[in-house]
């Protein structure tokens, strides 16, 4: 009988093993998804130490709460990235409440005081035109703003409405239209290494 290695098991099988406290199964899941989760946290937090902590917390959460995964709610990746995104958002909001400002170097120009580079500017001005630029640049500016403010900047819907000076209903419509457009733009080629959930 051929031996199936952990690398050959799909994500659902790994989670089932993690429920049984299988450490090697968690190692395999970590090997698959730690990089994109860390990258997402870095993109949102712009702080390596915080991103490392978030990554560690996400997988320890998976270790402790693997039994809470429900197949009917979607793939393991949806569950996992939802945990990661929520954890990152919670950290973004916690830092905003603390209003931590770190600024290096001599401020030789009249640069407005913020807690980091503007995500829209960062997302659209990088020299390497990646998938993120491609996805966001296909959105109308008002749709792009709500996606960035919500997904990357961690603002709540009321904060977004207040910042953009728009009603909640308008913000909701812009998100809906942005989601519809991104479904088509962010095709399978973006997601090259996450086939194990199938």
């Amino acid at each position: 009988m051929p031996v199936v290695t952990y690398e050959e098991k799909d994500d659902g099988q790994l989670v089932t093993l993690i429920v049984e406290s299988d450490r090697a199964a968690l190692e395999a899941l970590y090997g698959r998804y730690s990089a994109p989760i860390f990258s997402l946290a870095m993109n949102m937090l712009r702080d390596q130490g915080a991103a490392e902590e978030v990554t560690q917390d996400v997988f320890f959460n998976v270790w402790r709460r693997a039994a809470s995964y429900r197949e009917q709610r979607g793939k393991v990746t949806s569950w996992l990235f939802s945990i990661a995104h929520h954890r990152s958002i919670d950290e973004v909001r916690r830092r905003r409440r603390q209003q931590t400002h770190v600024q290096f170097g001599v401020d030789l120009s009249n640069r407005p005081s913020t807690d980091g580079v503007d995500p829209v500017e960062y997302a659209t001005s990088r020299s390497d035109r990646g998938h993120l630029d491609k996805a966001l640049s296909t959105l109308r500016p008002e749709q792009r703003d709500v996606v960035v403010l919500a997904y990357f900047k961690g603002l709540t819907h009321t904060e977004i409405a207040k910042q953009l000076d728009q009603p909640l209903g308008t913000v909701k419509t812009r998100i809906r239209l942005a989601l519809r457009k991104m479904r088509g733009v962010l095709g399978p080629e973006v997601w090259e290494s996450a086939e194990h959930g199938l």
Partner: protein, 296 residues
């Protein structure tokens, strides 16, 4: 929360724009509602792809080490045998023997005596065993506390290492700034132009000081990312809609750079300055990412 309320908050939930209370309510609703879950699955895929679309980075090894220290501390086996279960089994065995003829009753009395004697002895043994298990439990608890402390210690050591690294980086930046201030004081300056970082080099800063006595300027930069050997920073001078080559320069490991600029046109005619990333030998015109710019 019912489906109508969930429908109202769905878009905000999918992008993470609900506060923690709203998110908890949606999570609870999705535990039981198949219709809402089906819609969530499709958009969940899009959100995963959005996460993958950000620049992908390698995870430092220490993250895995710290994680599995916590996991190992969490993996502490423990087993206990109930004394009550043992007594119940003995009593059931004795009761079966008593349900027989008188002749067997005498034997049963003897047997009961033996059983109770055995029970008493077993009880003593159980008490010793219980005390032994209690001590073992306390020992395990202390071991676990030690493991937890070790895990916390490792995590703190990793964080301390990170802080020390950042501290060193800060000290280098401060030293570079002091060099820049010294150069500015030393140079016989006619005019001073400030440059601001662009795009990925948003932290960069620059200063161009035009000489009062000679047709040249000194350019100083801070916080520009060091480049690989096949790349260099190139200065561009913009005048009358045309772009002039201002020369190439490199930065040190702290991002501090210095260049002398001797332009083909008078400084009085130069309107703006930009710096881009180009091949090591330079380019005829700007081709790479703009990292610094400013008006003269």
């Amino acid at each position: 929360m019912d489906c109508k309320e969930a429908e109202n908050l769905y878009e905000f939930y999918i992008l993470g724009a609900l506060d923690s209370d709203g998110r908890s309510l949606m999570d609870s609703h999705l535990e039981t509602c198949d219709a809402c879950n089906e819609r969530l699955q499709q958009d969940g895929e899009t959100m995963i792809r959005l996460a993958y679309a950000v620049p992908q980075l390698a995870v430092p090894e220490r993250v895995q080490q710290a994680l599995f220290s916590r996991v190992d501390a969490d993996l502490q086996p423990s087993r206990r045998i109930g004394v009550g279960a043992r007594l119940t089994m003995l009593w059931k065995g004795a009761g079966h023997t008593l349900a027989t003829s008188p002749g067997a009753a005498a034997a049963s009395v003897l047997l009961v005596g033996l059983v109770f004697g055995g029970l008493w002895f077993d009880s003593r043994m159980n008490r010793v065993s219980t005390e032994n298990e209690a001590l073992r439990g306390r020992l395990e608890s202390v071991s676990q506390s030690l493991s937890d402390l070790e895990s916390v210690n490792q995590s703190l050591s990793a964080r301390l290492e990170s802080v020390v690294e950042r501290d060193t980086e800060l000290a280098q930046m401060v030293a570079a700034q002091q060099d820049l201030a010294y150069e500015a004081l030393r140079f016989n300056t006619q005019s001073l132009s400030l440059l601001r970082g662009q795009g990925q080099a948003w932290k960069a800063r620059g200063m161009m000081m035009v000489s009062q006595s000679e047709p040249r300027a000194v350019l100083l930069t801070l916080n520009l990312p060091p480049l690989p050997d096949d790349k260099a920073y190139q200065v561009w001078l913009i005048s009358g809609g045309r772009v002039y080559d201002g020369g190439l320069f490199r930065v040190d490991s702290t991002g501090f750079g210095k260049a002398v600029i001797i332009p083909d046109v008078p400084f009085s005619e130069i309107e703006a300055l930009g710096i881009t990333v180009e091949p090591a030998g330079g380019s005829h015109g700007p081709t790479g990412a703009n990292v610094l710019k400013g008006d003269l």
